[in-house]
């Protein structure tokens, strides 16, 4: 019984976005999401029908970690990513990669010196 309850709890947690919501909360969330989507679309429409797909494709090449982000912002110049947070994210990923490489190579040098001694 306890095991079944636990399984149900875990599966429900995993199925939603990590939170167990009651029906009312779910409904409220759905309404909110719909509202936000509508606002986003309106914003896009106001900025004019420019192809934002190109900007998304241009930014995706730099860091594969940032893929999957739905870029909702229209770009004024094609080929330039205007998604601020995503740019920061990609930058952080690159810094991490460079830092990890430096860390790895520096600690390796030290070990080699120790062996020589």
């Amino acid at each position: 019984m306890a095991a079944r309850n636990a399984f149900r709890y875990v599966s429900r947690r995993l199925s939603s976005s990590g939170k167990v919501l009651s029906e009312e909360e779910k409904a409220a969330e759905n309404v909110y999401i719909k509202k936000m989507e509508k606002e986003k679309l309106e914003k896009l429409a106001r900025k004019g029908p420019k192809p934002e797909d190109q900007a998304a494709a241009g930014a995706g090449g730099a860091g594969s970690v940032a893929d999957g982000a739905a870029s909702a912002q229209a770009s004024s110049t094609p080929g330039v990513s205007n998604d601020k947070y995503r740019n920061y994210g990609v930058l952080a990923g690159l810094v991490t990669a460079v830092g990890a490489f430096g860390w790895y190579s520096l600690s390796k040098d030290k070990k080699a010196e120790e062996v020589q001694d």
Partner: protein
């Protein structure tokens, strides 16, 4: 009040400073320490960004991840720097610098 920092294990490397001050330890950060700090912060920011995509809080989640990474990275770098000064970690650089000063 007992504020002595004698450890249960004896330092196996030359002791440069038995009880280094905060500023001295931070000033003693070497390239590897800064790389540690940067890498840990970068990982945290990236993970914060990625985990914030689905709930739509990429910015705040990235900032919070950055704060966590900065704290952890600084503590890790501080631990290494202090350990080298106190002789618990390999400290050729610190010993050479101390000799040069004398």
């Amino acid at each position: 009040m007992n504020t002595d920092i004698t450890a249960s294990e004896k330092p196996e490397y030359p002791v440069v400073d038995r009880n280094p001050a905060f500023t001295k330890t931070v000033a003693n950060f070497n390239t590897l320490d800064y790389l540690r700090l940067t890498t840990i912060t970068g990982i945290s920011v990236t993970v914060g960004y990625l985990s914030g995509i689905r709930p739509g809080i990429r910015g705040p989640s990235m900032v919070t991840g950055g704060l966590i990474g900065l704290m952890g990275g600084f503590m890790y770098a501080y631990q290494n720097s202090a350990g080298r000064l106190m002789g618990f970690f390999p400290n050729e650089g610190e010993v050479a610098k101390a000799k040069y000063k004398i």
